[in-house]
Symmetry: C2
Subunit: 293 residues, 2 copies
C-alpha cells in the first residue's frame, strides 16, 4: 500500500501532556511504532477510516464520536477530539484533490507500562470502487458465533467497539474469497443479522430503509447514518431493527455500506442472484459522495 | 515495561528472501514497526511468550510448534522455525542469568500489500510471581459467548490461534480487576470450561490431572503439556476432557498455567475460597522451573 501522508499526534489523549502543535508529519516508510506498543502486540486500540472527496474528509463528526465511543469501551484515555480533527483535516488536505482518498485514524494504548497512548493518521488515494458501487458485490453469510444479546451479557467481549483486534474480520474476508465472493456478512449464533466484516448492512423494503440495531453489538454505521438522512430527504422512512436472517429473503434490495467503498449493492448472496436497484444505488452513492464535513 | 533486548528477524518466513543472518539486534526504545504493518493496524499476526530460566528459554519446541500452528490458522506464510529458534535463543542468552525472564515472539502479516511478514523477539526480566505461585490467585468466571464447537462450525473466528487480536483478553483482565480478582477464566456460551484469559486451566481430581480439550477452540497449553509430563512421572494420570462448568465444583484443586507465571493455584473462584494443595503446587512449579529446552 502506498501511504502518501502520515501525521503522528503529539498528544492524542485529553489527559496527555499539552503539546504546542497537534501533530508532526512523518515519512510512513520509516518505522514509527515501538515493539512494546500494545497496539502492535495485543491489538489493544481502536481505529476509524474516513472517506476523502476533493481533499475534504467526510462524516468527520460521526467518525470522531465513534472513535471516542470505542475508546471508552476499551477504557482508553479519552481522546482529544480537537487534536484528532485538526490532524485528520491536515492529512486529507494533503491528498490529491482530484481523486477519492481515505484517512485512517489509529489510537492505541501505547507502549506497555507507559500509560501514554499512541495516535496517528495516515492518508492515501483510495482504490477505484466504481465496479462495486454499480455492478455490485458477491457476499457470503458467516456465523459470528456470539448470541445477539452479547453486549448486555458479556461487555468484556467488546462487541460494537471498532478495535485493532481485527484478525477475525480479515479471516472472514479470506473465507469469502475462498467461496468466490467479495465480502462477508455476519449473523449472530442465534440467527440475527449483524454487519459486514468491515461494513454496515442496509435493507430496502418498499419505501423503507432498515439496518440492524446497534443493540446487537455491532458498530453504529457512519455511512449508514448519512444514507438514512439522504433517504429521508427523498421521503423514505428509516428504522433500526432486530432482524432474523430470513429478513434477507424479504428485502427488495441489500447493500453493504462503508466509508470508502460507500454503497455496494449485494448482487449475489451465498451464490444466489439478488435484485440490484441501479437507480436508487446511483442516487445513494451520489448523495454520499456529495457529503461535506 | 523495560524491554531489555530486541532482535528483529531478517527473514521470518520460510518463503522469504534468504538472509545471511537470522536477526539483527536493535534498540527496543527506537520505533521498529511502520504504521502500515498489519500487526499494528489489524492485530493480524500471532505471538508466543516463553519463560527464560538461567538464560535458557523453556519449552522451545512446544512454543515454536504452536507459533507455526497459529500462523497456519491465519494463513500467514510458514514461519522459518530455525530462524525463530536461533533468534529466541540469542535473546534469552542476553538476559540476566540469575533472574527469571521471558522472550516474546511476534509474527505479523507485515506492511499492507507488501506480502512480506514482520517478525521480532523481545526479551526482559520477568516480574516476581512468587506470591501467585504460592499463595495463589483470585479468579472470576467470564462468558466467552461462543459455543463449545465453534472451531468446527466457524473456523474464521480463529479460536485456538494465538493471535495479536487480544483486546478482548485484555478487557477480560480489566473486568477481573474490577471484581477484585487477579485473572479471568472463560466458559463457552453453552457452559463448558475453556481457558484463562492468558493461561490454561488445570483441574486435579484425586490422582488425575485434567485440562479442557483443545477441540473446544482453545490454545494447546505448552506449560500444561509439561505439567502433564511431570505429573505422569509422579504416577498420576492425565486427560483432556470436555468439561461442564460444574466440574469446577468437583475438583480437589484448580490452577491457571502459563509460561512465565507458571502454576498459579486458584485461591478464590468468583469470591469463594478454594482449597490450595501447597505441596503439589510447589512440586509442580519446581518441575516447571527445572525444565530445559
Amino acid at each position: 500500500m502506498s501511504t502518501a501522508v502520515l501525521a503522528v499526534l503529539n498528544s492524542p489523549a485529553l489527559d496527555g501532556t499539552a503539546a504546542p502543535t497537534a501533530f508532526r508529519l512523518a515519512d510512513p516508510a520509516d518505522p514509527q511504532v515501538t515493539v512494546h506498543d500494545l497496539g502492535a502486540t495485543r491489538g489493544d486500540g481502536v481505529f476509524e477510516t474516513l472517506g476523502v472527496v476533493g481533499g475534504r474528509a467526510q462524516a468527520v463528526d460521526g467518525h470522531l464520536a465513534r472513535l471516542a465511543r470505542s475508546a471508552a469501551m476499551l477504557e482508553l484515555p479519552e481522546p482529544d477530539l480537537d487534536a484528532w480533527r485538526e490532524t485528520l483535516i491536515a492529512v486529507a488536505e494533503r491528498l490529491p484533490a482530484d481523486r477519492e482518498g481515505f484517512v485512517k485514524l489509529v489510537y492505541t494504548r501505547g507502549p506497555e507500562g507507559s500509560g501514554i497512548p499512541t495516535g496517528w493518521a495516515t492518508g492515501a488515494v483510495a482504490p477505484d470502487h466504481t465496479e462495486a458501487r454499480t455492478r455490485g458485490i458477491g457476499v457470503v453469510v458467516l456465523d459470528r458465533g456470539l448470541p445477539h444479546d452479547v453486549t448486555a451479557t458479556a461487555p468484556w467481549l467488546l462487541q460494537g467497539a471498532k478495535t485493532l483486534s481485527y484478525a477475525l474480520n480479515m479471516a472472514a474476508l479470506r473465507e469469502a474469497r475462498r467461496r468466490d465472493a467479495d465480502d462477508a456478512l455476519f449473523v449472530s449464533g442465534d440467527g440475527f443479522l449483524l454487519e459486514g466484516a468491515t461494513s454496515t448492512l442496509l435493507l430496502k423494503r418498499g419505501d423503507r430503509l432498515v439496518t440492524p440495531s446497534t443493540s446487537l453489538g455491532i458498530l453504529p454505521g457512519t455511512t449508514q447514518a448519512d444514507a438514512f438522512r439522504s433517504a429521508r430527504a427523498e421521503g423514505m422512512t428509516t428504522s433500526y431493527e432486530v432482524l432474523p436472517r430470513t429478513a434477507l429473503d424479504d428485502a427488495d434490495g441489500l447493500w453493504l455500506l462503508s466509508s470508502v467503498r460507500l454503497a455496494a449493492p449485494i448482487r449475489t448472496l451465498d451464490g444466489t442472484d439478488r435484485p440490484v436497484d441501479e437507480a436508487f444505488t446511483a442516487r445513494l452513492n451520489a448523495a454520499l459522495l456529495a457529503r461535506r464535513d
